[in-house]
Each structure stands twice: as structure tokens, then as C-alpha cells.
């Protein structure tokens, strides 16, 4: 297994965060000069980066194989949409309010989305993180499906039809800013003293326990943080697509995020970011051969496991660590 490590990939994360936020701000001021199609692809890529980086903390760094990330994304998408659609009109007025009010409302909605998803992550993590490997994979998959079925049965949130007419608050600035914050938080967490515990749990759970680390707590923290950002990504997704339905957050979506993490190299944040962007752009480029896209995708997954299991963008040799 490749060493999960982010310390070399992103030097000086604080500086990088400020730079990324500034870049996001500048880009958003010129956004009307870009082709809207490219902007849409960029927004999609940004959301996928958030999802992949947050799942990477669970699957890559901590080594717990979760297949239910789309469930947390669903929680975030629904909660954020509920906040802006149900509570929004009474807070900023029915006409939508000023852009400043809208931004505050959206920020609140995203925070609520993240918190709700984090709580869901805690509820899912407490029972299931006692399991390992493929059992954990199947239980998280099950929880993801349960979350989806629950939303299918809440009529106030549209039931099986889903929610329509969500305000289009998600702009390129929001996506880039949240992606930057996600990468920053995850990188700092992994590089901190506390974060070494995640890597210890990944490398050898029994040894980690033997030196006095509370492995279950590390796993749950990773799970909750990962779920939080998945929820925020869900909130962004809902306000980008303007329509969400439970079937959009099924098992396939979870697999898609897992593939990004694997392709980038488990635990390698920079690689995962590249993979998330690649896997968003590639389908657009491959649009002329769209029928073969998914076939190609699955063949790539198998071949990757056979010849390059450490991921496409992981250039460090196993065992070669700082």
C-alpha cells in the first residue's frame, strides 16, 4: 500500500489557501467573459474536487473503505436546498434580497448542509467503523442507500420526484473558494500531530492501538470531517444543478467518487485533485464516443488495479517516505 502523505504535495498550505481564494475572487470577476459551458465544467470539477478530497481523508489517509459518500452529499444537498427554499424567503424577502443577503443566506445554508452531513457521518460511523475492509464497504454502501430511501419518503422534500427550482446561488467563486478551504483543512489536519494518527491507523491498526492511539476515535473523526465536506459539496451541487432527486445520489455516484480517489492514488491529495478534474473533463472531451465512455471507464479501473494499483498520479515508490 502506498504511503498516504500530503506534506510534500502542497508546501505552505496557508499561503496556498490565500492564493487560491484570491484567484477564485479574480476569476469570478471575469466570469462573464468565459464561455458558460467552460464555467459549468469548471464548477462541476470543483465540486468533484471537494468530494474526492474529503473521501480521500477517509479512504486514503485513514484507510477505511467507505462506499457511502453520495449519501452524505445527499444530506447536504437536501438540507441546503431546504434552508434556501423554505427559510430563505422569510429571511431575505420573497424577491430574493440583495446579493449580500443572498451570499449570507447561502453561506448559512452550506454550513447547515455540512453540519447535517457531519451528524449523519457520526451516526453512520459509530456503529460501522467497528468493522473493517469489505464489511465496512458494504455497510457504508447500505447506509448510503438507506439515506437515499429516507429522502425518497419525505414528501416535504419532494419525495421520489426530488426538489426543483432551487435558486442558482452556486458560482465559480463559491466552488473554488470551498474547494480551496477543503484542501487546506484536510491538508493541515493530515500534517498536524493529530493527523499522524490517521496515517498510523491506515498503516497498522493493531500497532496504532498498541502505542495508545484511540483508533476508533481517529476513524470517526476522519469520517465526520469527510462527511462535513461532502455535505457542503452537496449543497453547492444542488444550487448549481437547481434540481436534485434521490436517484442522483445512489451507489453509482459513490463509486464515481471512489474511482477519483483510486485514480489519484489513495492518500495523495494532489493526485486526487488532478484525478477529480480529469474525470470531470474527460467525459466532456469523450462526448463524441459517449456510448463507449462507461465501458472505457470500467476497463481503466480494472487495468489500473492490475498494473498500477498505487494510482495514476502517485509517483512516490511504496516505502519511500519522509
Amino acid at each position: 500500500m502506498n504511503p498516504p502523505d500530503a506534506s510534500r504535495a502542497l508546501p505552505r498550505p496557508a499561503l496556498a489557501l490565500v492564493a487560491a481564494l484570491a484567484a477564485a475572487w479574480i476569476v469570478s470577476h471575469f466570469s462573464d467573459r468565459f464561455d458558460p459551458y467552460y464555467l459549468d465544467v469548471a464548477v462541476g470539477a470543483g465540486i468533484n474536487v471537494i468530494l474526492a478530497v474529503s473521501l480521500n481523508l477517509i479512504n486514503g489517509t485513514t484507510g477505511q473503505f467507505s462506499l457511502g459518500h453520495a449519501g452524505f452529499m445527499a444530506v447536504g444537498a437536501y438540507i441546503a436546498a431546504a434552508v434556501t427554499m423554505l427559510a430563505g424567503p422569510s429571511l431575505v424577502g420573497a424577491d430574493g434580497g440583495t446579493s449580500g443577503q443572498q451570499s449570507l443566506l447561502f453561506l448559512g445554508a452550506l454550513a447547515a448542509a455540512g453540519l447535517a452531513a457531519a451528524i449523519a457521518g457520526l451516526l453512520v460511523g459509530l456503529p460501522s467503523l467497528r468493522l473493517r475492509g469489505d464489511y465496512l464497504a458494504i455497510v457504508t454502501l447500505g447506509f448510503g442507500e438507506i439515506i437515499r430511501v429516507i429522502f425518497q419518503n419525505i414528501d416535504a422534500l419532494g419525495g421520489a420526484m426530488g426538489l426543483n427550482g432551487i435558486p442558482a446561488y452556486t458560482t465559480i467563486f463559491w466552488v473554488l473558494a470551498v474547494a480551496a478551504v477543503t484542501v487546506f483543512v484536510v491538508t493541515c489536519l493530515v500534517r498536524s500531530t493529530y493527523g499522524r494518527g490517521f496515517i498510523a491507523v491506515h498503516d497498522d491498526e493493531i500497532a496504532a492501538e498498541a502505542i495508545g492511539l484511540r483508533t476508533t476515535r481517529y476513524k470517526i473523526v476522519a469520517f465526520v470531517v469527510g462527511a462535513f465536506f461532502a455535505g457542503v459539496a452537496g449543497g453547492l451541487y444542488g444550487h448549481f444543478k437547481q434540481t436534485i432527486s434521490p436517484t442522483g445520489f445512489d451507489f453509482t455516484k459513490s463509486i464515481e467518487i471512489v474511482v477519483m480517489v483510486i485514480l489519484g492514488g489513495m492518500g495523495n491529495t494532489a493526485g486526487v485533485i488532478l484525478a477529480a478534474i480529469l474525470l470531470t473533463v474527460l467525459p466532456e472531451v469523450l462526448r463524441p464516443v459517449a456510448e463507449y465512455r462507461m465501458i472505457l471507464y470500467s476497463v481503466v479501473l480494472i487495468v489500473l488495479m492490475l498494473v498500477r494499483p498505487q494510482g495514476l498520479f502517485n509517483f512516490r515508490r511504496p516505502g519511500n517516505r519522509p
Binding site: S128, R130, L131, G133, Y135, I138, V139, S298, M305
Partner: protein, 299 residues
């Protein structure tokens, strides 16, 4: 009371199919210790083989139905062996997660190839076997369809055949040896590759049979039809105790019955969540499953 009996009957016939699929999961897990995610898509291929063969044999005949069933079993057995050879054998010494991901890849590949070649639209499955309807206890009594009887009877036959193979034949003994300790089995001269291929062939043949039987009772097939029954069958295997053949059968029956009863109640919209709820409860309170052995972890 009538309704209870009716639901019980429907539940048993659904459970029998789940049990057939669960057997494949449990056998592969027994020898290789990984979840063969592609198993549910082999089930789908079985249904399609039954469909294509079924169009070339006369409907409503016993021999026609049996030909379709046997063809599905043979094709699926071959498919299982090929998948094992190409995707899983090179990964035999790799970490479990890599094999799991490869299995997910194979599963996606089969689904997408299915959508490419068969089209995404559902197709109506032919009525292979003669159809009779039995009515017990007057007009409002219990209704029993011959297809349900066929499912239950064939499942029993296959279950006993499998039991015979695993307990009484040389290859079956080798399978059990492998599931106890792969290295020790190799040391006493068991050809691991051969036994693992045979395990895949047997498990996949059962999935193929399950595909045809499922399509007889729910006669609309599409390339993604395997996903949900597959997940539920896997849950059934875990509930029964993964690696245990009677456990898989018991888990399948239990899950099929519970789901059918939920489907008949006012909670019917939650039926797809029931399997996973049951799984989580089992794993919390009895992680080895109902009939599984608890293995202590050693450092």
C-alpha cells in the same frame, strides 16, 4: 390468515432466489476472502442467456425451460471462470481493497457492456415453463403460481446438488481445505488455481440459474437488474454467516420473507432499505452472522 400465508409463500419464493445468489457470494468469500461485486451482473447475464435461448425454444414446455436454464448456467460458469482468470488471479496476492476495486470494475464493465449490446430498455421475459395457477381455500384463498413452485423446487435441487459436491466429492473437499488455509492446502498438493476456478464456475452457474428463475417471476429484464437483488443476496450471505452454505440459504429465505412482508405493509416504500437495516443490526449484534463461526483475530 390467508394474506399471511400468501405473503409467506411469495416471500419464500423470493428468498429462494436470493439464497441461490447468496451461495455464490459465500463460496467465493470462503476461498478468496473478498466480495465478488461482479456476481450480481453474472446473475443479469444469466437472465439474458435465458431470454435469448428462450426465444428459440417453444414456450410453455418443460424441456424448453430446462434447456434455457442449463444454457444460462453453462454460460455463466464459463463467464465466472474467465473473469477470475483475467481480473482476479493476477491480484491474488494484492491487498483486499485492490481486489475489491477490480471487482467493482468488472461489475461496471458487465453492466455497461450489457447496456451497449442489449440496450437499456427492459425486455419482456418469455414464459419458459408451462404455467398453472393453483387456488387454495376458495376465491379469496391462497394463490400459488407454478413458476413459484418451480423456483422453490429447483432451488432445493440445486442446494442439495451443491451440498453433495462440497461435502462428498474430491473437488469439494479441496474447496473446504482452501477456505480453511490456502497455503496449507497448496502444501498437501491441492492445485489452488483449479479449485478457485471451480468455485467460480459453481457459484456463477448458481447465479445464472437464479437469473432465469428471477426473470420467470419478475418477467422484465434489463442490464441493471442485478444490482439490487445482488446487494440483497450479499446481505443475505452476511446475515447467514459468510462462508457458510446453509447460512446463505437461511439468510436468503429470511431476507426474502421479511422484505415481502414489509412490501405488503404500509412501510412498502422503505422495502429497499430493509435489507441494509437488517445487515447493520446483524453486524452490530452478531458480526459472524447467524450460522457463522467467530474467528478471533491474531496479531
Amino acid at each position: 390468515m390467508t394474506e399471511f400465508l400468501q405473503q409467506l409463500l411469495n416471500g419464500i419464493s423470493l428468498g429462494a432466489i436470493l439464497a441461490l445468489i447468496a451461495l455464490g457470494y459465500t463460496m467465493v468469500y470462503g476461498v478468496l476472502r473478498f466480495i465478488n461485486f461482479a456476481h450480481c451482473d453474472i446473475f443479469m447475464v444469466g437472465a439474458y442467456v435465458g431470454y435469448f435461448v428462450g426465444r428459440h425454444v417453444p414456450e410453455h414446455t418443460w424441456w424448453g425451460g430446462l434447456i434455457a436454464l442449463v444454457a444460462a448456467m453453462l454460460v455463466c460458469a464459463a463467464l465466472g471462470v474467465v473473469i477470475e482468470r483475467l481480473a482476479y488471479r493476477p491480484l491474488r496476492s494484492a491487498p483486499t481493497l485492490n481486489v475489491l476495486i477490480a471487482a467493482i470494475g468488472v461489475s461496471l464493465l458487465l453492466e455497461n457492456l450489457g447496456q451497449h449490446f442489449f440496450g437499456a430498455t427492459p425486455r419482456a421475459f418469455p414464459e419458459l415453463f408451462p404455467v398453472y395457477t393453483f387456488q387454495f381455500g376458495g376465491n379469496s384463498g391462497v394463490v400459488l403460481y407454478s413458476n413459484q413452485l418451480i423456483v422453490i423446487a429447483l432451488t432445493l435441487v440445486l442446494l442439495f446438488a451443491l451440498r453433495f459436491v462440497v461435502l462428498r466429492t474430491k473437488i469439494g473437499t479441496a474447496m473446504r481445505a482452501l477456505s480453511l488455509n490456502r497455503q496449507a492446502a497448496a502444501l498437501v498438493g491441492i492445485n489452488n488455481d483449479l479449485v478457485i476456478a471451480a468455485t467460480f464456475a459453481l457459484g456463477s452457474a448458481l447465479a445464472g440459474a437464479a437469473g432465469v428463475l428471477y426473470a420467470l417471476n419478475y418477467p422484465s429484464i434489463d442490464p441493471l437488474m442485478g444490482v439490487l437483488p445482488g446487494l440483497k443476496a450479499f446481505v443475505a450471505a452476511v446475515v447467514g454467516g459468510i462462508g457458510s452454505i446453509p447460512g446463505a440459504a437461511l439468510g436468503g429465505l429470511l431476507l426474502g420473507t421479511v422484505e415481502t412482508f414489509v412490501n405488503g405493509s404500509e412501510w412498502s416504500t422503505y422495502k429497499d432499505a430493509i435489507a441494509f437495516g437488517l445487515l447493520i443490526l446483524i453486524l452490530i449484534f452478531r458480526p459472524a452472522g447467524l450460522l457463522g463461526r467467530n474467528i478471533r483475530e491474531k496479531v
